[in-house]
């Protein structure tokens, strides 16, 4: 089990209990809402009673205002959120799709060539361990301040977890299954399609779940280093003008984006892998 979750890193093993089943947990859910309301009320009243400076800790009402205002701007206005959200989302998703496609393809190829895999594996681990965000300034030198450098950063971040998980997944095919396929004289393509791919898919999905979070991470870091648009850019710009409520608003948008993307991916996984034992065992948790 440990091996299996090792690249599942950022996210959530407790999410094995599906989000939906938690929403069904009525008692806890109502308590969740209640704590939220209480938290917001205390926060608001503390801010007002102690008259904490707005640039240090804005009360929730101001944050909501900032959140609302950004969405009511015209779609193409640079003060609004539409453009920036679109940029960040585009960078993240573009990087994610290309990076994970490459990861899956290369991982599949490598796992079919055990010798090459053995030679390259230490490097892959080393690259996975390297803080790839350090490449951000380099990508700016190579590809300029535009979209390319951010797409490339999130691509690089997405690539390795998917690659390693694909390799891991294809290598975890059991000997018995292979022998069975050999004994019914299946072609290697049939073995690949009917046994290897289904075994690897849960691993690949675990990699994708990590990658989707990394993709947004990459886009944001890329925008920190240099950008003209995007939520990461907006947040640094607002920090210069001490617009703290605006920053909180962006953090909320980012959290919503990231968890939304993650939930979509888990939904797809559940639909595609309903037969998998991992999936079933996690239902039982």
């Amino acid at each position: 089990v440990v091996k299996d979750i090792c690249w599942r890193d950022t996210i959530i093993d407790i999410s094995k209990r599906s989000f939906l089943s938690l929403a069904k947990d009525k008692a806890a859910f109502s308590l969740t809402i209640l704590t939220l309301i209480m938290l917001l009320v205390t926060w608001e009243s503390i801010c007002r009673l102690l008259s904490i400076p707005v640039h240090l800790l804005p009360p929730p009402s101001l944050i909501c205002q900032a959140l609302y205002k950004g969405w009511t701007e015209p779609v193409l206005a640079r003060e609004g959120y539409y453009i920036h959200t679109f940029y960040t989302l585009f960078e993240a998703l573009f990087g994610f799709s290309i990076g994970s496609c490459f990861g899956i393809i290369l991982g599949t190829m490598l796992s079919q060539m055990p010798t090459v895999n053995k030679l390259l594996y230490p490097y892959l681990i080393a690259f996975q361990a390297t803080p790839k965000v350090a490449l951000a300034p380099l990508f700016v030198i190579w590809f300029g301040f535009g979209l390319h450098s951010k797409v490339l950063l999130s691509l690089t971040l997405c690539f390795f977890p998917v690659l390693l998980n694909s390799i891991e997944g294809f290598n975890s095919v059991g000997e018995k299954e292979k022998e069975l396929m050999a004994s019914i004289s299946a072609t290697s393509w049939q073995t690949f399609r009917l046994v290897k791919v289904p075994t690897a898919l849960p691993f690949i999905f675990a990699g994708l779940e990590v990658a989707i979070i990394y993709s947004i991470f990459g886009a944001i870091v890329g925008e920190f280093v240099s950008a003209k648009s995007g939520l990461g850019f907006l947040i640094t710009q607002r920090s210069m003008t001490l617009d703290t409520s605006g920053m909180f608003a962006i953090l909320i948008i980012l959290a919503a984006l990231a968890s939304g993307l993650y939930l979509i991916l888990t939904y797809i996984r559940r639909r595609m892998l309903f037969w998998s034992e991992l999936e079933r065992s996690s239902e039982a948790v």
Partner: protein
Amino acid sequence: MRRVLFILGVFVAMVGLWELLVWVFKVHVLILPPPSKVATALCQGFTIDIHDWSFYPTHIVHTFVEGIIGFLVGGLLGLLIGALLSEFPLFLRVLYPYIFAFQALPKIALAPLLVIWLGIGFSSRLALVVVVTFFPVLVNSISGLNSTKSERIELMRSLSATRWQTFRMVKFPSALPFIFVGLRLSGLLSLVAAVVAEFVGGSKGLGTLLLYMSLTMETAGVLSIVVILALLSIVLYMLITYATRRLVFWSGK
């Protein structure tokens, strides 16, 4: 042994190819310097005057200390709160949606906010590392502690063990493999977080140096720092893997 030689061979071949391609296609040094130039930059960074701003060791120590302290604090907090949450399941059930949202949020986006709160000094960068390293340990501790086999807990109950005894003797040991997975991820993330925090606001550290060198177009310098960071994190990764192997030698693998 032969495998190690082969792997080293691959390394030498790749570096050689890089050097060769750069020379053959006459790629400009600013775009892609050959490995020899990167090595020169690396040596230079270590041999220049100690009082020079870009003397590498000061920056390395700065980033490393930030990463390590943040990692220790974040990991410990994650472990403690994870243990509390798994001992009191109601809290977990109530707080779960928040943990989920926080975990999905790219936490480095908090960097500018932390700068406003704590200034551009050491503390804001440390805080970012703590926040980033906290979650993987938290989540893995919770899932580890919750995955204790129920027979074992029942056994402890039938021996009328106290809650603390059950935790100490059964739940915690069986959660350790998970916790170490979390620690390994956090360890790697700690350096990432330190570098990003230095991107956002810092006057010292490898992240600052990296940004500075990219602005002055010293591509070889940038690559040399990337190499240092890679080595640092590989060392960290190996240390944690070694510790895992020594401390949870009894676990499945």
